[in-house]
Amino acid sequence: MDIKDEESAPSSKKASKKPIYTQFSQQDLPAWKPILTPGWVIATFSVVGILYIPIGLLTLFASESVEEAIFRYDDRCLPPSYAHNANSYIQSDDTNKTCTIKWTVEHEMEAPIYIYYQLDNYYQNHRRYVKSRNDMQLRNKAAEGDLGNCFPEDKTTDTNQPIVPCGLIAWSLFNDTYRFLTSNKDLTVNKKNIAWGSDQRSKFGSNVYPKNFQSRDLIGGAKLNESIPLSQQEDLIVWMRSAALPTFRKLYGKIETDLEMNDEIEIVIENNYNTYLFGGRKRLVFSTTTLIGGKNPFVGTAYLIVGGLSLFCAITFILLYVIKPRPLGDPSYLSWNRNPGGIK
């Protein structure tokens, strides 16, 4: 606006229009002017190196202390006769889907032991899929008819009743189940509190009950008990937190007793979920946890590498500084002082 003022002001006005002096308008505000001195740079790299190497070691150590056991079962639970016809095996109602795996615990695992199922090559982040849900409907009984984005799993085919929960995500709910037996005794799996508390409290309504779910011809996965409100359907809640990456784990439950070395555990799997269609693999994972979560050597290694490189830089710069220092701010280094061209 000042510019306009300037133009429209009649030049005949003889009052002094000298700009008022302020530090701001004259660009004389006090300022901190840091420069990259060798001291600062070497110090920065050293500090990074000194901090990162221990952090890396700690992280790596934590990761190593995690006990993890992984069982791939999609192939193991497929009867050999169906080896080339997995699809019809899994789609048929008549085939026996139960399969058993024997596991001898190799290392001691301390409770709580988390049980995850892991899917491969499964794009829960596919654009068609992540959008295929209605968050209003999940929360609010009154919004039951709110079916936006849910097509084609929105209404029953014949009666046009709304499906609760609607959409592809809910429709494709994972339905393999696991039982664990030690010495023919059931090992209790705690399936409470496997979902986020926040989801149970605010995102899935305690008065919203499943309705018309999986009632259509094409059944995508698990069915829901219509007498339990959505907020208590923790498997659904876990499933509906769409995974970020195509290889993901979902929490199935927790075993709250320690597993000792050489414990014999029989894993009974109901292999219902169809991943054969698209070549997705299914795994069962037992894992203990630490501060940084599950087993993950990457972060620790990365920290070690970054720390190491920083220390290397610090040392290199120290050497360079000792061998070939340059006085800071020496005017004789200015280009016009350095090569005064043409003096005879």
Binding site: M1, I3, S12, R127, P152, D158, Y303, V306, G341
Partner: protein, 1155 residues
């Protein structure tokens, strides 16, 4: 060095030196903008045809407006009304390509198949920008409405039914007769009919129109003057912009009279010194010349922006490439999974909702799906083209303009004028100037003339040489008991003063008498009496259009020939206390073809004499050939010595007219001055009757003083590697002498002078000069491109307008350019306004270097418009130059702070800002892109759509704007101390292709770190889309802000606030977004922030991403420092040293006025 200068002297012989200027062709003077000017010229050549004319019936507005309704007098500078605002404002806003891009993306996103973002989110940024601009426009328009209302409701006195009545301005119509009192503004363009002055003169001040504060005379025609009733018809040209021309004729009582620009008073002027004037409205409201001339500032595009647009094309290619990769991958994926798509849980192509029918759900076939994928990826990756950059750049430029306007060091105390930023979009060009083209008069010099020497009848009277103490004589006369004194004092030569007092007793005295009589009368000066605090003393102020004339009139007054009164009919002089009245029988005003003016005086004893004054070239052609040639030669010698002292010279001639000669002239003059068309040419011809066979009275010399600080400024500019070319209309000798006094030329330089009259001789001179310059430069060692700092013998080229006529627009141009680019100084003298533009174009078209033209007068307008940057001096000569300029300031020396400080800063700031914004947007796009590779190429964004949108609004926009406005690489004092630092801009150091590539590589690395570290860490884990998205959001935002923080040179409190504030604002925004239960990502941040892995990753990302940058930056700054870097260090260390010792070092160049 002496060898070379002697060499140059000997070399001068091969150059043709033409002293005779008979070859100089007449060229029309050009005023104002080109359009107005060509219009004016063509109109004067043509008869005023009926279809081109407007008929105005005086005092009969009804009849005037009968056939065709002329515009009313209400004006509208506002653009919008309440109704038209929305459509018109939208229409204007969408003229910007950026907004159209925004709009297309938003529209694409509205298609259901392509809806990547929610509909609301996608429109938000566009509406935000449109809204902000609209609010600004409403505010500005509201102010215009207000001023329009004030203007339209002013009262004018209009003749209705034989009586003058008050009427609002907006109701005034064409044809109405209007009465104006002294000091009243003129409501519309009126033709004067009568004035209170017995001779029909009215004085007007045109300061609002052209900025000239002196009074101009306007005349009422004798036929209408003083009459009671008004009637008649005026036939005038259609409304046009030419404020210096008016072509019309008037029929009164059966007589046909011609009207010219001296009969019309324009809206925007004020009546002065005349108690009453009556006129008829001919142009009203928006058709007035003032309104037609109120056009906006010229629009130019900065060099940096042009280069930036080039890189934006690269970015668009890159965008297209990303989209192509995505869609090709998607195509392959779809092909490979063709058979599975039907039942794939996360695809589910089959739709069973219709009974018995199986349809495809949201699947449009392979080809269309790919097309949609492509379009969707355009939507997702749209920020690759940094649209927000255009808006940020405008904001930054406003901030920079604010600082330039507010700079105390560019405030001119004398004219009380601030720096003006008229063009807002070329601030950064100021930092890359390589050539400065400067006008001389009024730009390098003050245009305040001082009478210095006189040569009368071959005798040199010099007021400075003999008595250096400069005795200032105050001459005053008494009239009616009151003392009248000239306003300005002039140094006089006592000998001459003595002789002038001697009166007509001897021949010498008579000649001196005639000489001063000529000075006092042969002009268009209007004497004004100004009151002083002392009631008995009045000052006489000489108002006139030419400062030379003013100086001469004051000089004549000092020698006792005081001009007391001037009307269109007579002149009253006070000659040594004796009042004399002369009748003005005729006056031929100055024009640039004749380069002289003449006045025909009738003496009280009814003898008639003509006095002529003019430029030496034009005068020496019209002197009596039988005249005393010795005297002519003596005068010429004096002229030569005056002009070599840098003085402006005029030759005065006179002749007695006998009765028959006078009659012959008189009848021709009458005929010519009533001619309807071609009047100017006719008058010119008539003037030749009297302006011939003159006898030389003498010559005057006026000093044109250099402006303050000019030599120092030129020196600074030269050290900064800027080539200064001076283009002047002055004589060669004058130009060279000014060149020396302004340090433009030094004794070390070899001068090459070219003034040839034919094309062939021009060619030869150029070839010789080229050879010579080559020899000079090679013999003195390495030719240094850095220019100013070179120690090779600098070469100065001096070329005159006549030669330029042959060279410009011909094949010789190239040679001239070759030659000129070897010279460190180029002086062009005797150039016409259009040639000035031609010279600028010569350089502009042949190099990519930036040109700047600086000037103050109407003759500089074409040059100012031609150059990349035009600077107007808001000084003495009027406002045309300022109106045409991009920047305007009070003094030439402000060029140094403007270029070396503000230009440098503006360039550095914007250059960095552009690179940073490319990086900022590209890093986000790349992170989005990497993720797309893991979503089966379906353009899911992990970073939620609100964050993507807010990214360029809240998360990272303010810091770059604030840093772009405030950051300074070097302090003011350092920049002035080492003008060489300016070279950084000339060498495009802050923004170039190499930097762009490096920035993009850095961007690639940073995006890889941001994306892949979490990916590896979270592979086969329970992480959900929203949580990892939040991590990526923070990764990008923190990194982008830290990246900026690393490059900030000066940290003000505001910088701290915006940079750290932006990061905090991001955290707050993400928390708010994640607290909305209706979004799928509900509470994700609070969950993921509770895990140690999240913070470990965030810390790791930031450090790992910035490490390479820090290493490169440090190595580059420490081991390959550029000048700016060294000065930065010196500034910091030097500052500490100063603080320690408690002293402040003095700078060699300190042309800052004390605050």
């Amino acid at each position: 060095m002496s060898i070379h200068s002697s060499g140059s002297r000997s070399n001068n012989s091969i150059l043709e030196v033409s002293l005779s200027r008979s070859g100089s062709k007449a060229r029309p003077v050009r005023y104002g903008s080109k359009g107005a000017d060509s219009e004016g010229l063509s109109m004067s050549q043509r008869e005023l045809r009926d279809e081109d004319a407007r008929l105005v019936y005086i005092n009969d507005p009804g009849k005037t407006n009968e056939t065709f309704e002329f515009g009313g007098n209400s004006i509208r500078t506002s653009k919008y009304s309440v109704l038209t605002f929305i459509p018109r404002n939208l229409f204007e806003q969408f003229h910007r390509v950026a907004y159209v891009y925004f709009l297309i993306i938003a529209i694409l996103n509205q298609l259901p198949q392509l809806a990547v973002f929610g509909r609301g989110v996608s429109i938000l940024p566009l509406t935000f920008v449109l809204f902000v601009t609209a609010v600004k426009d409403v505010y500005e328009d509201w102010r215009r409405h207000k001023s329009d209302r004030v203007e339209n409701n002013r009262l004018a006195s209009v003749l209705v039914d034989g009586k003058f009545e008050e009427k609002k301005w907006r109701d005034v119509r064409v044809g109405e007769v209007i009465r104006i009192k002294a000091n009243e503004p003129i409501p519309c363009d009126i033709v004067l009919l009568s004035t209170s002055d017995p001779t029909g003169v009215a004085y007007v001040q045109t300061i609002n129109l052209d900025g000239e504060s002196n009074l101009k005379t306007r005349y009422a025609k004798q036929e209408t003057h003083g009459k009671e009733g008004f009637g008649g018809v005026i036939k005038c040209e259609k409304p046009n912009r030419n404020i210096y021309g008016f072509l019309a004729n008037m029929e009164v009582d059966g007589k046909k009279l011609s009207l010219g620009s001296s009969n019309i008073v324009l809206r925007g002027c004020e009546l002065k010194n005349t108690s009453l004037a009556i006129g008829v409205a001919v142009y009203c409201g928006s058709e007035t010349k003032a309104m037609l001339n109120s056009s906006g500032a010229p629009s130019k595009r900065s060099r940096l922006e042009t280069r930036m647009n080039f890189e934006i094309i690269w970015l668009s290619f890159f965008l297209v490439a990303l989209c192509t990769v995505t869609s090709v991958c998607a195509a392959v994926w779809l092909k490979r999974h063709k058979d599975e798509l039907n039942l794939l849980p996360y695809y589910r192509k089959l739709d069973f909702s219709e009974e018995g029918e199986v349809e495809n759900y949201k699947y449009y076939g392979w080809g269309l799906e790919i097309l949609f994928t492509f379009l969707m990826s355009v939507i997702v990756f749209q920020v690759m083209i940094p649209i927000s950059l255009y808006i940020s750049m405008e904001l930054v430029r406003v901030g920079q303009a604010y600082f330039m306007i507010r700079d105390n060091r560019m405030y001119d105390e004398e004219t009380k004028s601030r720096f003006q930023c008229r063009a807002l979009n070329i601030n950064e060009d100021l930092g890359q100037i390589k050539y400065v083209f400067s006008d001389k008069t009024g730009t390098l010099t003050q245009n305040k003339m001082e009478f210095q020497c006189a040569s009368i009848w071959g005798v040199d009277y010099n007021s400075t040489k003999d008595n250096m103490e400069g005795e200032q004589v105050e001459h005053s006369v008494e009239v009616d008991g009151k003392v009248i004194r000239p306003k300005m004092k002039v140094k006089v030569n006592p000998e001459l003063l003595q002789l002038s007092r001697s009166g007509l007793q001897n021949v010498e005295g008579k000649r001196i008498h005639d000489f001063f009589l000529a000075l006092a009368t042969c002009n268009t000066i209007v004497p004004l009496l100004v009151d002083t605090p002392d009631p008995d003393v009045k000052l006489i102020d000489y108002q006139g259009e030419s400062p030379d004339e003013q100086a001469l009139a004051y000089a004549a007054a000092a020698y006792g020939f005081m001009l007391i009164e001037r009307t269109s009919g007579h002149i009253i002089l006070d000659i040594h206390g004796e009042r004399q009245k002369f009748n003005v029988l005729g006056l031929h005003e100055f024009d640039s073809d004749r380069k002289r003016m003449s006045v025909i005086l009738g003496y009280p004893d009814s003898s008639v004499k003509v006095f002529v004054k003019g430029a030496d070239t034009s005068m020496l052609n019209v002197i009596d050939k039988s005249f005393n040639m010795d005297l002519v030669r003596a005068t010429e010698a004096h002229l030569h010595s005056y002009s070599s002292m840098g003085l402006r010279t005029l030759v005065i001639g006179t002749r007695d007219l006998n009765a028959s000669e006078f009659e012959k002239w008189h009848s021709a003059f009458e005929a010519a001055s009533t001619a309807v068309f071609g009047r100017a040419a006719l008058l010119r011809r008539v003037s030749s009757i009297v302006e011939s066979s003159l006898s030389v009275l003498g010559a005057s010399a006026i000093e044109d003083k250099l402006q303050q600080g000019v030599p120092e400024s030129i020196e600074s500019l030269r050290i900064a590697g800027i080539k200064v070319w001076v283009l002047t209309g002055d004589k060669q000798e004058t130009a060279i002498s000014i060149g020396y006094s302004s340090k433009l030329l030094t004794s070390r330089m070899t001068q090459i002078i070219i003034n040839s009259k034919t094309r062939e001789s021009c060619r030869k001179s150029l070839e010789d000069a080229l050879v010579m310059s080559k020899k000079l430069l090679s013999s003195s060692g390495v030719a240094n491109d850095a220019g100013g700092s070179s120690d090779a013998t600098p070469v100065a080229l001096i070329i005159d307008g006549t030669s330029l006529v042959h060279i410009l627009d011909s094949e010789l141009e190239e040679q001239l350019f070759q030659l000129a680019s070897r010279c460190s100084v180029v002086l062009c003298c005797r150039v016409a306004p259009l040639q000035k533009a031609g010279i600028v174009a010569l350089v502009k078209n042949r190099t990519s270097d930036m040109t700047l033209a600086i000037g103050d007068g109407a003759n500089d307008v074409s040059m100012i418009q031609m150059a990349d940057v035009g600077v107007g001096i808001s000084g003495q000569e009027g406002r045309q130059a300022v109106m045409a300029s991009d920047f305007a300031m009070g003094q030439f020396r402000f060029l140094v702070p403007l270029l070396l400080i503000h230009g440098h800063w503006n360039y550095q700031r914007l250059g960095y800002m552009i690179l940073y914004n490319f990086y900022r947007n590209a890093v986000l796009v790349l992170v989005l892109f990497w993720y797309v590779l893991f979503t089966a190429f379906t353009l899911t964004t992990a970073i939620n759509e609100w964050s993507t949108t807010l990214y360029s609004i809240i998360y990272s926009s303010l810091p770059t704007i604030i840093v772009g406005i405030l950051d300074k690489d070097l302090g003011r004092r350092t920049l002035l101390k080492y003008p060489q630092l300016y070279g950084a801009g000339q060498r495009h150091e802050a923004y170039n292709k190499k930097l762009f590539v490096w920035t993009m590589l850095d961007t690639l690395w940073q995006s890889l770190v941001i994306f892949w570290a979490p990916l590896f860490a979270y592979w086969s884990s329970t992480v959900d889309v929203a949580s990892i998205g939040d991590l990526w959001t923070f990764g990008v935002v923190i990194l982008v802000n830290l990246h900026l923080a690393m490059d900030v040179i000066r940290w003000y409190w505001l910088t701290h606030v915006v940079i750290w504030g932006s990061i905090v604002a991001t955290f707050i925004s993400v928390m708010i977004i994640d607290a909305i239960p209706n979004l799928p990502g509900y509470w994700a941040f609070f969950h993921v922030a509770g895990t140690g892995l999240f913070w470990l990753l965030l810390l790791g990302i930031v450090i790992a991403a910035l490490l390479p940058r820090l290493v490169v930056k440090f190595v580059y700054q420490y081991y390959f420092p550029n000048d700016i870097q060294i000065c930065r260090e010196a500034e910091k260390i030097g500052y500490e040293r100063v603080v320690e010792s408690g002293q402040i070092e003095m700078l060699p160049i300190s042309d800052n006025p004390p605050r």
